[in-house]
């Protein structure tokens, strides 16, 4: 098969859905309008653990407009069939309104359904719930961890004690919430025993399967639709209780129901990046060759589910060393279940490892980049697999040059501008990009336009645009003549939109489907006596701008349109699939080197980022303009993780005390002055058709450490808690 010209892929295009978004025509879950829709508002538990002893809904039910108050005392029993899929962690998932137990502060205990949102909200405030409250356990520092997940190679204890240089460092990382702009929302409509749900999710298929399991419905009786997502960062990777509440309320009231979480409810109605306690012991020789590392890692989970994330990978594959031991434990608490958040596992682990590497560099008097180079592994030492591509060293070189690393004075507190101490720092990053089986469907219509469908999501990276680019080139069409559709469980199956997997996985399926359609057309042409391409070797036919032609004689050709018309075909169609990495056994990671310059007010302790640079080894970049949005967005997320973001729990009763965007701080424009992203040119063809690795996760990995290391360079103060706030630096 002849390679298709790559006209769209690699071009810095704007979002194909940009106009819809900026003109307000992109329809988000809560905006879906159904005739006769009624509104549901959840009543949140006001205790952190215990039982509901009484619910008095009389005042709410009397309020004008209220249709129904549903709670465990009157809700229908739901089957809650087992569902090991849908990203449900191990455990027993929360079952809404099925019993009197309260597992965490804010758990849904009732829902008020009313004709208007205002009546439902007021009704919810009138529901009186009485509890038998227990003292909740919400403090990770005071609770018992579960059983460890272990990892070991070599003899880490012996390696450590024989090391010339030893560090023993303890880190505390705050809980973070995703805080997407769009609140989670569900619109649910029953038609007999069939249920359609418009839901904010990063995985329509997972939500589909969970709803089918909870209500014990056949798969074809449930449809989940979600064409637009206003940010996710991981918060939409599983089906949350409110989605079930909305479907339940719609069933009970026999009306379509709209349920939108308030900003406050987003802090306990959806998940979060768990708080961590992480102890790292590191041993090296005097020249900086690492010898041993012992990682003791604890993070929060709920009392009813054991959430886990890929926090071990970085400690195993980042640097070469013979001896590693890891113990990873979840600490069950009276909180709701966490969920993956941007750079899951790697972002917290890299803060620890990359901060420790900086400490080691200081201890040894070696440049932090040089120290990393000295420990660059030749293979993934945890699996002895070759790296598909690993160009981290090049990231250092390019980053150091572009950022002006040679201007960094390694002596802390040596650069001053008035009241400000200036510091430079860097950190490495990696992310274990996903490649999951998935499918797509492509259709070329007689008018020469095409439609491609897959049940994936666009939470912001620009899936609509990048998949259109991929499809356009594979079909030989212009961007304008290709429509990519996503976000509907009736479309071909795809895996969750997360883990930096979408381009490799869905993209490969899209390419496959489009290649098949193009080949069908080529076959039609070369076998057709009336075609100018009759008799041409199919492998020599390429398509561009909808015209098929012989690459050895470009004048010889015809358009899709004429071909289909002559054959009286209304369309050509094909299903494409991607089976995952298959026989590829290489270690497939994306890499980053992140550089930061900060100022710290010497007297007042305030840290401000002045500029940041990320250099990425992320394989081929399909959509450079959107890649920049991803990379800069990831850096902004990392600035938040480093300096601002901290979900605070009042351990007396388990309530989250900063559940608003005024109190949970994320970076604003003024906090992100000068950000730049550079991508190493190149491809990684390990088990995917596009030469890509993932980008969306790795861009946040290492950011917090780079900033923390810059703060050390500025001030000489090593802060091992996130976020780094003024009180730590006074």
């Amino acid at each position: 098969m002849s390679p298709q010209p790559q006209a769209a892929v690699g071009a810095p295009l704007s979002r194909v859905d940009g106009r819809l978004k900026v003109t307000g025509q992109a329809e988000y879950a809560a905006e879906h309008d159904l005739k006769g829709v009624v509104h549901a508002v959840i009543v949140d538990a006001a205790i952190g653990r215990g039982r509901i002893t009484a619910i008095d809904a009389r005042a709410a039910e009397k309020h004008a407009g209220v249709l129904r108050v549903i709670h465990h005392g009157n809700a229908p029993k739901l089957p809650y069939r087992d569902n090991a899929g849908s990203n449900n962690p191990q455990g027993r998932r929360l079952r809404v309104f099925q019993d009197d137990r309260v597992f965490f502060h804010g758990q849904p205990v009732a829902v008020v359904v009313a004709g208007t949102l205002e009546a439902a909200q007021h009704g919810a405030s009138l529901v009186k719930v009485r509890y038998d409250a227990d003292k909740p356990s919400t403090d990770i520092t005071k609770a018992e961890p579960g059983e460890p997940t272990p990892y070991a190679r070599g003899d880490a204890e012996a390696g450590l004690s024989s090391s010339a240089v030893r560090l023993d460092l303890k880190y505390e990382l705050a809980r973070n919430h995703h805080n997407p702009m769009e609140p989670h929302a569900t619109v649910a409509q029953w038609d007999g025993n069939r249920l359609t749900v418009w839901d904010k999710t990063q995985w329509v298929m997972g939500t589909h399967d969970e709803i089918a399991a909870v209500f014990d419905l056949p798969a074809d009786a449930v449809r989940v639709i979600n064409p637009f997502v206003g940010g996710g960062f991981g918060s939409g990777l599983r089906c949350w209780p409110h989605t079930i509440v909305a479907a339940l309320a719609a069933r009970v009231t026999r009306r379509p129901v709209k349920l939108v979480l308030s900003r406050k409810q987003m802090y306990f109605g959806t998940g979060f990046r768990p708080a961590y306690e992480y102890r790292l012991r590191l041993g090296s020789d005097r020249r900086g060759r690492l010898n041993a590392a012992i990682h003791d890692i604890d993070h929060e989970t709920s009392s009813y589910e054991t959430f886990s994330e890929a926090v071990l990978g970085a400690g195993q594959m980042m640097y070469s060393m013979p001896n590693v031991r890891q113990a990873y434990r979840q600490v069950p608490l009276d909180v709701n279940t966490p969920i993956w958040m941007r750079g899951p596992g790697f972002a917290p682990a890299s803060f620890v490892i990359e901060s420790a590497m900086d400490e080691l560099a200081t201890e040894l008097g070696i440049d932090p980049i040089e120290l990393r180079r000295r420990n660059e592994p030749a293979e993934d030492e945890s699996t002895n697999e070759q790296f598909s591509t690993r160009r981290l060293s090049e990231c250092y070189t390019v980053g150091a040059r572009e950022f002006g690393w040679d201007r960094r004075n390694p002596e802390p507190r040596s650069t001053r501008e008035g009241n400000l101490l200036i510091g430079l720092g860097m950190a490495a990053g990696a992310y274990d990009c996903g490649r999951y089986p998935g499918q797509a469907r492509a259709r070329l219509d007689a008018d020469g336009t095409a439609v491609v469908e897959a049940a994936t999501t666009d939470m912001g990276p620009g899936t609509y645009t990048s998949q259109t680019q991929v499809a356009a080139d594979a079909l030989g069409l212009t961007m304008r003549t290709v429509t990519f559709r996503l976000g509907d469980s009736e479309y071909p199956f795809t895996a969750p939109h997360g883990g930096s997997s979408t381009m490799a996985s869905v993209g490969s399926a899209v390419v496959d489907a489009c290649n098949k359609v193009r080949r069908q057309a080529i076959k039609l042409a070369v076998e057709d006596r009336e075609s100018p391409l009759y008799g041409v070797n199919a492998d020599d036919v390429v398509v561009r701008n909808g015209r098929l032609y012989d690459r050895n004689n470009t004048a010889r050709g015809e358009t899709y349109k004429s071909l289909l018309a002559r054959h009286d075909r209304s369309r050509l169609e094909a299903n494409g699939s991607y089976e995952g990495p298959g026989s590829d056994r290489s270690a497939y990671f994306a890499y980053s080197a992140t550089f930061a310059e900060v100022s710290v007010d010497a007297d007042l302790g305030l840290v401000r980022v002045r500029r940041m640079l990320g250099v990425y080894d992320a394989g081929r970049i399909i959509s450079p303009k959107l890649a920049d949005s991803q990379a800069l967005g990831g850096i902004v997320g990392g600035i938040g993780q480093a300096l601002l973001e901290h979900t605070v729990t009042d351990h007396r009763d388990g309530r989250i005390v900063n559940s608003s965007l005024a109190d949970y701080l994320v970076p604003v424009n003024a906090d992100v002055p000068d950000l730049k992203a550079i991508y190493l040119d190149g491809e990684d063809n390990a088990g995917n058709l596009l030469g890509v690795k993932g980008l969306g996760e790795v861009v946040q990995v290492g950011v917090a450490a780079a900033i923390g290391n810059a703060v050390f360079n500025a001030t000489g103060r090593r802060i091992r808690q996130l976020p780094i706030t003024a009180e730590a630096l006074l």
């Binding site: 009241n419 007297d603 300096l643 900063n658 701080l665 003024a670 009180e727």
Partner: protein, 326 residues
């Protein structure tokens, strides 16, 4: 949100009548509507006073300024008179985001309620919201709370930056009562410390309407500026702030007006700092010595201990900044 009635008035007389019968005044609504949504505030009747003729900024003989209660913050911020006479006040107004400045008024600004998260969460104990229920912040998460001016009943900080500048400059508040009587209150007497009645935040009577704030004339030249520290650079309430105005003549500080924000239950006047400055010649040592009094009497809580030191450093920084201005 609880159901309420809403009326719009077009004259002060009409407003006062509505206020006398229990109506709550609303203008920009940036605090009140927010709190109504959280059901922290549940007024029965809202009286929209936006149309009243109280939006003039006028000079007061001798170099003072009078700002009508309904002047939007954005207008006051940009006002040339205010900027030239009292930069500290104009800068303090800029502590708020542009969106708030466009909506909020001067009268509303000084009436704004605390950002204490327990106050804003109706399921938490709060003596300010529900007298006698207790104060969840005392033993809870209190990083943002007051180290000064608190009581066993309440330690919520006052959120207004502008009020800090008004406190430093010893402004007065003009009020009109339903019986038509005017009165003027020194700003220091207008905002109340919580004591045992944290639900009473202002010295204001039923139905009384704020008509203006007045900043008095000062001997010139008067150098002044506002410094606000916050975790992020914008859209954030202050960790600590300092309003400083100095009149220096013949190399000697003749007048010093200093107040702090973000650290106290009301904007916190710092008379000990002022006294340490008056009659002295500016020097780094003087700034440090004077600022050393800024946290006098502080009673820090579990999470806000750092503010004791931060406040001193903030005041010192701002004394030096203003003292060294050309």
């Amino acid at each position: 949100m609880h159901p309420f009635t809403y009326t719009r008035v077009s004259s002060v007389r009409e407003a006062l009548d509505a206020g006398r019968s229990g109506g709550r005044y609303i203008a920009g609504g940036t605090t009140l509507v927010d709190l109504m949504r959280e059901t922290v505030e549940t007024p029965e009747t809202l009286v929209d006073i936006s149309a009243l003729p109280l939006s003039e900024i006028t000079a007061i003989a001798g170099g003072g300024i009078r700002i009508g209660a309904l002047v939007p913050m954005a207008v006051a911020t940009a006002d040339p008179k205010l900027n030239s006479l009292f930069p500290v006040a104009a800068q303090a107004l800029r502590g708020a985001s542009a969106q708030l400045r466009n909506m909020a008024t001067i009268g509303g600004n000084i009436m704004q309620r605390t950002r204490c998260t327990y106050f804003r969460d109706v399921t938490a104990d709060c003596n300010k919201r529900e007298p006698g229920s207790g104060c969840a912040a005392l033993g809870g998460y209190n990083r943002g709370h007051a180290i000064l001016g608190g009581s066993d009943h309440c330690v919520a900080t006052h959120a207004s930056d502008f009020a800090v500048a008004l406190t430093a400059l010893e402004a007065t508040v003009r009020l009109q009562a339903p019986d038509g009587k005017d009165r003027s209150l020194p700003f220091a007497d207008f905002l109340l410390r919580p004591g045992s009645t944290p639900q009473r935040e202002q010295n204001i009577r039923r139905g009384e309407l704020i008509t203006a704030v007045e900043i008095p004339a000062y001997p010139r030249p008067l150098k002044s500026a506002y410094l606000k520290l916050r975790d992020r650079q914008s859209y954030s309430f202050g960790l600590a702030s300092a309003a400083v105005a100095l009149h220096i003549r013949g190399g000697v500080i003749r007048e010093a007006k200093v107040a702090a924000g973000g650290v106290a239950t009301v904007p916190w006047k710092l008379p000990a700092v002022e006294q340490a400055l008056i009659g002295e010649r500016p020097s780094d040592r003087l700034w440090a010595e004077a600022a050393g009094h800024a946290s006098d009497g502080a009673r820090p809580l579990q999470h806000n201990r750092f503010k004791v030191e931060l406040l001193k450093r903030t005041v010192e920084r701002q004394l030096r900044t203003v003292g060294e201005m050309e």
